[in-house]
Symmetry: C2
Subunit: 154 residues, 2 copies
Amino acid sequence: MNLLHGLDGMDRRLLELLRQDARRTNASLAEELGIAASTCLARLKALRASGAVRGFTVDVDPAALGHGLVALVSVRIRPGARHRMEELFDRLRGLSGVQQVFFLGGEDDFLLHVAVADSEEVSRFVLKNLSADPAVAATRTSLVFRHEGGERPW
Amino acid sequence: MNLLHGLDGMDRRLLELLRQDARRTNASLAEELGIAASTCLARLKALRASGAVRGFTVDVDPAALGHGLVALVSVRIRPGARHRMEELFDRLRGLSGVQQVFFLGGEDDFLLHVAVADSEEVSRFVLKNLSADPAVAATRTSLVFRHEGGERPW
DNA sequence: AATGAAATGTTGGGGTT
DNA sequence: AACCCCAACATTTCATT
């Protein structure tokens, strides 16, 4: 798939505008880019089709959903369960409260970004979903005081 | 601000639909929710105004942007520089290649999610932006093999 | 690839219950 | 809060370059 070579400067400018506001109308994007609306639409379609654009989503304040506590949980898997990494990844990413899962090479095997109501719930989350699993060797939980993402300058 | 109490079941369903596709038209959202388009629009505006919805963004494949390597870098700050945490946070989140910054309570102080071209670039990133800073006591870099986010079931 | 034009679809403010 | 209306606006297809 043409990921690198299909991306010219106009595509990058388009992605940057969409990063700032994914709900802008095609007409307004086209105007700012100085191209015809139909051209802009064709480019966005091509970016979707090539897989460069995976989707569009909404950034919701976790607190608004009753998630007063955000944490990172690193997970180490037992040597004997290493062959189940793919399966474990899929299980972890389906758990309630899990926002992101990173599958790592290094000391730890997974890092979970979780959002829950309070400290009681994060402890329940770790005990029930992780510690109770025989594949899990160890976990380490860190509180997230502040989190920023999505405003990277490409 | 009314974050918790302004969120009823319909709001949550609306957010879930937008999470799946933030570029869906208001009319299509309203139809699936079984409410009038104007009502749906009013709810979305209210969610934006209350801060529950922070924005809409596009999910771009890092590889399409030439970022063949994704890593997590945890950063420990020297005890003598702890009073500069806020300032450090803002500096880190502005660095080129940084996708997310977590400010943590626990063993490490920050976790950076970075996307760069290759391993040469991640090493340059750490040496130039982190190790060279006198406030930084230690860093630890892990490769990200796989990353999923944004499909959490609220 | 990019364009303009035309048919079709969507938006969002105002007025109403 | 929710609804309907509808003029203004946006989208998308297609023939053309």
